[in-house]
Amino acid sequence: MDLAADYVTIVAFILIGLALPAASLTAGRWLRPHKPTASKAITYESGVDPTGDSRVQFNVRYYLFALLFVIFDVETVFLYPWAVAYDDLRADVGLFILVEMLIFVLFLVIGLIYAWKKKVLEWT
């Protein structure tokens, strides 16, 4: 199977993945009752009438974790090609390739330790 055919299969997967919800939700529309009332459409808040806005302020920690995530996710972008090519690079340039990645990871670990000491990783 050539390269293009594999990606055509993935498109087929996407289309079938979309077809299942489309078909079953349409079939459901013919089967299920539809009697909307005002009280059914109230936002659920344990039986009490909802107060205030639902989109409330959030703990800033979520944002800090998102930042950490971006840093380490970008690291994996560099890590994966390195891991795939490791055998070839090892034959070409020797153990330097390992040391180089060690230095790169060390810089990020310093960042992690900084975040750790600054108590970013605590959830209080």
Binding site: M1, L3, D6, Y7, V8, T9, I10, V11, A12, F13, I14, I16, G17, L18, L20, P21, S24, L25, A27, G28, L31, R32, P33, H34, A38, A41, I42, T43, Y44, E45, S46, P50, S54, R55, V56, F58, Y62, F65, A66, L68, F69, F72, D73, T76, L79, Y80, A83, V84, Y86, D87, R90, L98, M101, L102, V105, L112, W116, L121, E122, W123
Partner: protein
């Protein structure tokens, strides 16, 4: 693109739906036994049709959309969550030659596409315009991105050992030794992180019933709710298959028992993983939010990083052994 292109994926979809139907029953039965109960036993012989009945019940339930909700996003969210869960199955090699899309970057594709579901969950929680739903969605996203890092890093050792991101090549590299042996730390990190990615006990905080009612899908009813549940179980299928492929040698037989067909070997290992997921759910209590974040960043991430260099050193010492 011919009609045949669709036949394979359609058959796989039916297999997956069958798996989801009976794994839910299996889970309820096993947890029942572990808690000295019988589990579902009324609908059909031995309760076999319990989940089928549940699905039909959900199908005929009224579909309510809260007045304050963001209607288009509210309706799209379950689909955004579900589609990636099925699309990732395209790259899983179930047996020798039985893989739908044998692409070179299979593993990267799996990781990249599966994170789209996070957007579906966040969209669902936000569009509901409900405090519980938004809190559940935010927790869910925080948990999923925190555990994606160790998950991805723990696999780097496997990628190094196999020298490829293609999942078929990774299975073939395990003909002599399964990667669970040299990559035992990687496996431990991967398995723990995959529990968190699947939002399963002890990491099911996004759905903590006692504090958040139901998490991001509080406002969902009927079949839209069913799609969020379906997504979760399709991910169980996908993650169990991926664990089998990456660490348990895929379809490779153990002790040279190759008279058992490869697909059966795959199914055995796959079943073992699924059973372990259920077993853990019945055994461990839910952990707290602060414990969750600390485990991910302070334990699993350093371990995963350490494992990368350990596997490089192992490669030097044991060169040619695996």
């Amino acid at each position: 693109m011919s009609g045949w292109t669709f036949l394979g994926p359609a058959v796989l979809l039916l297999v997956v739906l069958g798996f989801v139907t009976f794994s839910i029953l299996f889970e309820r039965k096993v947890i029942g036994w572990m808690q000295a109960r019988i589990g579902p036993n009324r609908v059909g012989p031995w309760g076999l049709l319990q989940t089928v009945a549940d699905i039909f019940k959900l199908l005929v339930k009224e579909d309510t959309v809260p007045a304050k909700a963001d209607r288009p996003l509210f309706k799209a969210a379950p689909v955004i969550a579900f589609v990636p869960s099925f699309v990732i199955l395209a790259v899983i090699p179930f047996s020798e030659g039985l893989v739908f899309a044998d692409i070179g970057v299979g593993l990267l594709y799996y990781i990249a596409v599966s994170s789209i579901t996070t957007i579906g969950i966040l969209a669902g929680g936000w569009a509901s315009n409900n405090k519980y739903a938004l809190l559940g969605a935010m927790r869910s996203v925080a948990q999923m991105i925190s555990y994606e890092i160790p998950l991805v890093m723990s696999v780097a050792g496997v990628v190094m050992a196999a020298g490829s991101l293609n999942l078929t090549a990774i299975v073939e590299a395990q003909e002599k030794v399964w990667f669970i042996v040299p990559q035992i730390i990687g496996f431990a990190v991967f398995f723990t992180a995959s529990l968190a990615e699947l939002n399963r006990t002890p990491f099911d905080l996004p759905e903590a019933e006692s504090e958040l009612v139901a998490g991001y899908h509080v406002e969902y009813s009927g079949f839209r709710f069913a799609f969020f549940m379906l997504t979760e179980y399709v991910y169980v299928f996908a993650m169990a298959a991926l664990t089998t492929v990456l660490f348990l040698g895929g379809w490779n037989p153990l002790f040279g028992l190759d008279f058992i067909p490869p697909i059966l070997w795959f199914a055995l290992k796959f079943g073992l993983i699924v059973f372990s997921l259920i077993w853990i759910r019945a055994t461990l209590p839910r952990i707290r939010m602060d414990q969750l974040m600390q485990l991910g960043w302070k334990v699993l991430l350093p371990l995963a990083l350490f494992n990368i260099f350990l596997s490089a050193i192992l490669k030097e010492v044991l060169s040619g052994l695996y």
